[in-house]
C-alpha cells in the first residue's frame, strides 16, 4: 500500500525530505517525506494526535525541525515563521489565529503586511476586493471587531487573511473544526475555487477525510508521526479497507 503517485523529485514544488520535528524533548514527527506538485491540493489525514498540526507547523517554521523542506528549490527548514511567510507560505493555523480585537478589514490588511514597494497600496485594495468576492459576508462585517464573528466567519477571515499574502503555498489546519456541515462544504468549495483560479498549491490537514479527499489530488495518512499511506485521493477514497483501518470513518 505504499504506491507512489507523486511527482518526481525534480518537478516537485514542495519537497519534504526526512522531516523530524517536536517540542522540546517531545519528538512528534519521525522522518516524514512527501512531495506536492505546483497547483495541487494535498490532503493530510490521520487520527487525533498523529502530528498533522505539527507537520504544518514544521513547514511554516513554527517548530524546530531536522530534515529538509524545499519550496520551489528554496530551503525553508530552520527559518523563522515570519521569514517563511515572506517567502510566500500562508499558514491558517489550528484555532484560526484571528487578531480578535482588530476589525475584519484590519485582519485582512495584516495578511498583506509583508507586501511593499510601488503599487502596494493599489494591489492591497485589489486583493481586498478579491477576498470580499470569495467571502461576501466579510465585506458586510468589515468594520466589525473580528472577535465578534461566528466560527465559520472567523475561518473565512483566516483563509482570506492567508490569501492577502498572495501565497505560493497555502497551509490549512482543520478548516472544518467546529463548523456546521453546510458551512464546511461551502468553505471547501471556495478552497477548490481558489486553487483552480489562482493555481495556489494547498496542503490541507483534515480529520474529516471525506471532505478533504473530495478536493485533493493526493493524500497522505499520518499516524504517530509517520506517513503510513500515500496515494491519489480517489484511490484512498475507494479503498474501503483503508478507510476502515486508517481513517475509521464512514465514507
Amino acid at each position: 500500500m505504499s504506491e507512489r503517485s507523486e511527482p518526481a523529485a525534480g518537478d516537485a514544488f514542495l519537497a519534504v525530505e526526512d522531516l523530524h520535528a517536536g517540542y522540546g524533548d517531545a519528538r512528534v514527527l519521525h522522518g516524514v517525506s512527501l512531495r506536492v506538485g505546483q497547483g495541487e491540493i494535498c490532503a493530510i489525514l490521520g487520527p487525533n494526535g498523529a502530528g498533522k498540526t505539527t507537520l504544518l507547523r514544521a513547514l511554516s517554521g513554527m517548530c524546530r525541525v531536522r530534515g529538509s523542506v524545499r519550496l520551489d528549490g528554496t530551503d525553508l527548514a530552520g527559518r523563522s515563521p515570519d521569514a517563511v511567510a515572506r517567502r510566500g507560505v500562508a499558514h491558517v493555523p489550528e484555532g484560526r489565529g484571528t487578531f480578535m480585537p482588530l476589525t475584519v478589514e484590519e485582519n485582512l490588511r495584516l495578511g498583506a503586511f509583508a507586501r511593499r514597494g510601488r503599487g502596494a497600496r493599489q494591489s492591497v485594495a485589489d486583493d481586498l476586493d478579491r477576498v470580499y468576492g470569495y467571502f461576501p459576508v466579510l465585506r458586510t462585517r468589515m468594520r466589525q471587531v473580528a472577535g465578534s464573528l461566528s466560527g465559520g466567519e472567523q475561518q473565512m477571515l483566516a483563509i482570506g487573511r492567508a490569501l492577502m499574502l498572495r501565497p505560493r503555498l497555502l497551509l490549512l489546519d482543520e478548516p472544518s473544526l467546529g463548523l456546521a456541515p453546510l458551512v464546511t462544504r461551502e468553505l471547501f468549495g471556495i478552497v477548490r475555487t481558489i486553487n483552480a483560479e489562482e493555481g495556489t498549491t494547498v496542503v490541507v490537514v483534515e480529520q474529516n477525510a471525506h471532505l478533504a479527499l473530495g478536493v485533493a489530488q493526493q493524500a497522505h495518512v499520518l499516524e504517530t508521526g509517520r506517513i503510513v499511506l500515500s496515494g491519489s485521493a480517489e484511490r484512498i477514497q475507494a479503498d474501503e479497507q483503508v478507510a476502515q483501518s486508517y481513517l475509521g470513518y464512514r465514507v
Binding site: 511554516s60 515570519d82 511567510a85 489565529g97 480585537p101 482588530l102 484590519e106 495584516l110 503586511f113 492577502m164
Partner: protein, 292 residues
C-alpha cells in the same frame, strides 16, 4: 466654587504629567506584556540628556527633538540587548530585570551628573492666562497641550499607518503576527523606543516643576502606576484619563481633606491603585485584568 475650579485646573496640569509617564508604561505593557519599573528612570535619564544638550548652549526647542531621538534609539537598544534575552521568561524574571535596570540607570545618572539638584528651564513662558475668576498658568496649559499632541500623534500612528497596524497585530496575537510575515522582535523594540520617547516627554515636563535630580521620577512613577491601573494597563486612552483623574484627586485631597495636606498626598495614588484593583481590576478602559 471658583477656588474649587482653580484646584481642578491645577490638578489637570499635574495629571497631564502623570498621564505622559502612564502612557509610556501602557505602551510597553500592551506590546510586550512587561510592566517596566524602570520607565521613570529612563525618563529621568532622557531629561539629563536634554539638560546636557542645553548646557552645551543648545536652544530648548532644538535639544528636545534630539533628546527624543536619542531616547527612541536608546529604548530600542535596551529592548534588544537587555530585555530580549529574558523574553518569554517567567514574569517575575522580567520584573526583576526591569527593577535592575531601574537601579542601574539611577546609579548611572548619579555617577555621570551627580546627585546635586539642577535647574531645568520650563519650555513655557512664565505667567498665566486669566479666564474669569480662573487663573491658569501657561505651564499648566502647555503640559496639557503637549500630552494632547502626544496622544494625537500616537493615535495617528496606531490607527492610520501600516507600521501601527503591525504593532497592534503583534499586541493582539504575536504568533499570528509572525505568520503574516511581521518581524515581531523589531516591533517589540519599536514599542520600547516609543515608550522611551513618550517617557522622555514627561520627564522634560516634570523637571521644571521638581528640579532635575536622579530621584526625581520616583514619586511620579507611583502616580503613573495609579493612573495606568485606574485607566486600564492596556489602554492608552485610559492612561491619559487615569492620569488626569489621579492629578485632580491628588490636588483636591491636598487642598480639602484636612489631615492629608501636602505631605500625605502620596497616599492618594496608593488608595487609587487599591480601589481600582478591588473594584475594577481591568481599569476603566482596559480589557485584561491586572493579574495580582
Amino acid at each position: 466654587m471658583a477656588e474649587f475650579l482653580q484646584q481642578v485646573v491645577e490638578g489637570l496640569g499635574a495629571g497631564a504629567i502623570y498621564a505622559g509617564l502612564a502612557l509610556a508604561l501602557v505602551l510597553i505593557y500592551r506590546f510586550t506584556g512587561v510592566v517596566n519599573f524602570a520607565q521613570g528612570e529612563l525618563a529621568m535619564f532622557s531629561t539629563y540628556i536634554a539638560w546636557q544638550f542645553m548646557a552645551g548652549g543648545m536652544a530648548f526647542w532644538l535639544a528636545l527633538p534630539l533628546t527624543l531621538a536619542v531616547s527612541f534609539v536608546g529604548g530600542m537598544l535596551i529592548e534588544r540587548v537587555i530585555i530580549r534575552p529574558v523574553e518569554g521568561a517567567p514574569e517575575l524574571t522580567v520584573v526583576i530585570v526591569t527593577v535592575g535596570l531601574f537601579i542601574f540607570v539611577n546609579a548611572a545618572a548619579g555617577w555621570i551628573w551627580s546627585f546635586l539638584i539642577k535647574d531645568f528651564p520650563s519650555p513655557f513662558p512664565a505667567g498665566s492666562a486669566q479666564a474669569g475668576a480662573l487663573t491658569v498658568s501657561y505651564s499648566t496649559l502647555g503640559n496639557l497641550a503637549v500630552v494632547a499632541v502626544v496622544m494625537g500623534a500616537l493615535y495617528l500612528l496606531f490607527q492610520h499607518t501600516k507600521i501601527g497596524l503591525g504593532m497592534r497585530g503583534v499586541a493582539a496575537d504575536p504568533r499570528s503576527a509572525r505568520l503574516v510575515g511581521i518581524r515581531v522582535g523589531w516591533m517589540l523594540a519599536l514599542g520600547w523606543g516609543l515608550a522611551a520617547l513618550v517617557g522622555a516627554v514627561s520627564g522634560v515636563l516634570v523637571a521644571p516643576l521638581l528640579f532635575l535630580e536622579p530621584n526625581m521620577m520616583g514619586g511620579v512613577l507611583l502616580y503613573a502606576f495609579a493612573a495606568a491601573t485606574l485607566g486600564g494597563f492596556d489602554s492608552p486612552v485610559g492612561a491619559v484619563v487615569g492620569g488626569l483623574i489621579v492629578g485632580v484627586a491628588e490636588t483636591l485631597a491636598g487642598a480639602y481633606v484636612g489631615f492629608i495636606g501636602s505631605d500625605l498626598k502620596v497616599g492618594v495614588p496608593l488608595a487609587i491603585i487599591l480601589a481600582a484593583l478591588l473594584l475594577r481590576p481591568q481599569g476603566l478602559f482596559g480589557r485584561a485584568a491586572v493579574r495580582q
